[in-house]
């Protein structure tokens, strides 16, 4: 009994020390992001910053990162293609590195997780970078291109990020109500 208790305590300690970086490419693919994360420099930098695990959602991409069990105290690396429980992964992450889709961005911000958005330069209609850049200017997240990911991780100061206030659809409804001549509540 006592031995089991001790083990549980130890497991708890390990869980506490576990700091996961979750990388997500969304519903399609973003090999440039997976490649950028799967470099020795980036993994080394993440470890230097105290992260212990790296979990990558690679989608339909063809670039497969190297798995690593964490031998010799190195970063534990794992990946998967798709999952219905992205929300769970986001919740248990200490840092999220995401593609620039608005769904992924706002889900992460709402959970209050530090976020680096990596913009896909290969997309034809690249209006998505607009949102990430604007939110980066407002200090809600960091925005990077795949080549600049290493620098961003090295220079980031998570303390300086500001929480994102929840959105509000009331102003839209108020204007519509007024336009249609509905009496005010």
């Amino acid at each position: 009994m006592g031995w089991q208790c001790g083990l549980k305590l130890q497991m708890g300690e390990i869980e506490q020390k576990r700091k996961t970086v979750f990388v997500t490419v969304g519903t399609t693919l973003f090999d440039a992001l997976v490649k950028a994360v799967d470099t020795e420099q980036v993994k080394h930098e993440l470890q230097r910053r105290g992260y212990t695990h790296l979990l990558i959602q690679i989608g339909r991409g063809s670039y497969i990162p190297d798995k690593c069990e964490g031998e010799g105290g190195s970063l534990v690396v794992d990946y998967f293609t798709f999952s219905s429980s992205i929300a769970e992964h986001l919740r248990s992450a200490s840092l999220v590195i995401s593609h620039a889709g608005s769904g992924s961005i706002f889900e992460t911000l709402r959970l209050g997780k530090p976020l680096i958005v990596v913009v896909n330069e290969d997309l034809m209609d690249n209006h998505q970078s607009e949102l990430a850049e604007e939110l980066a200017e407002r200090k809600h997240l960091y925005c990077a291109h795949p080549q600049a990911l290493l620098e961003t991780i090295a220079d980031m100061n998570l303390e300086s990020l500001l929480p994102y206030p929840a959105g509000d659809a009331k102003p839209v409804i108020n204007l519509i109500n007024r336009f249609l001549g509905f009496p005010d509540d």
Partner: protein, 227 residues
């Protein structure tokens, strides 16, 4: 001979008068577009909600969740035929309304799918045919629903529906108010759908979520972030 001349003249006159009436009517509809309705009635309005996909649908659901449902009744939801997710989300929202109220009461909501004029990767030649089918289908759905309120937020699917709603105003089938909410992802430039509905002055009210976009398109209304 003279009678024939006279006949030609009167036909030409009638056509001219008819065209003039059409021009005057179109001008009147444009003049009224964007002006609030004068009637102060609280009668419910039939509402068409066009669901985009992914992020667009998520933003629309946020709008719907604070909408006073008793004023916007019945509700018709339209999504692209290839997008099952959006209608499922709308159904979840409508079901949650029923749970809170009388179980016997039927939800005043209908869910419909619409053919898209062009799928990603489709060739341009075949897309002429599919575009025609999509237009006829959109027309059929609009004749069936004849909404008094059209609420949409892109992308492309909503444009033909809004154009048809506008034509209904011109012809006198149904007067409707058209509302467009530009996506939160648009910070500096409008989307193509948004730009069309803004520039053609089809939308009665045009909402944007970033102040710099409002400054660029002064007829729009800044409403802050929906997400």
């Amino acid at each position: 001979m003279e009678g024939e001349h006279h006949c030609c003249f009167s036909i030409a006159t009638m056509i001219t008068i008819f065209l003039l009436m059409v021009v005057v009517r179109v001008a009147y509809v444009f003049y009224r577009t964007g002006k609030p309705l004068s009637s102060k009635s609280s009668d419910p309005r039939s509402t068409l909600i066009v669901l985009g996909s992914g992020g667009h649908t998520a933003e629309m659901i946020n709008v719907l969740s604070v909408m006073p449902k008793d004023r916007f009744t019945p509700r018709f939801y339209i999504a692209a035929a290839t997008d099952n997710m959006s209608l499922r989300k709308a159904r979840v929202l409508e079901d949650s309304l029923v749970d809170g109220q009388n179980q016997d009461e039927k939800v005043p909501a209908e869910f419909m799918q619409i053919y898209r004029s062009r799928e990603v990767g489709q060739s341009y030649i075949t897309s002429i045919g599919t575009t025609l089918i999509a237009i006829v289908h959109a027309l059929w759905l609009m004749i069936r629903t004849r909404p008094e309120v059209v609420l949409c937020n892109g992308p492309g699917t909503c444009v033909p529906l809004c154009v048809i709603a506008f034509l209904f105003k011109v012809v006198g089938i149904r007067w409707s108010s058209i509302f467009y909410v530009e996506s939160i992802a648009r910070v500096k430039k409008l989307s193509l759908s948004g730009l069309l509905l803004y520039k053609l002055r089809i939308a009665d009210q045009f909402f944007v979520q970033w102040p710099q976009l409002q400054r660029k398109y002064p007829r729009s209304h800044y409403v802050g972030c929906l997400m």
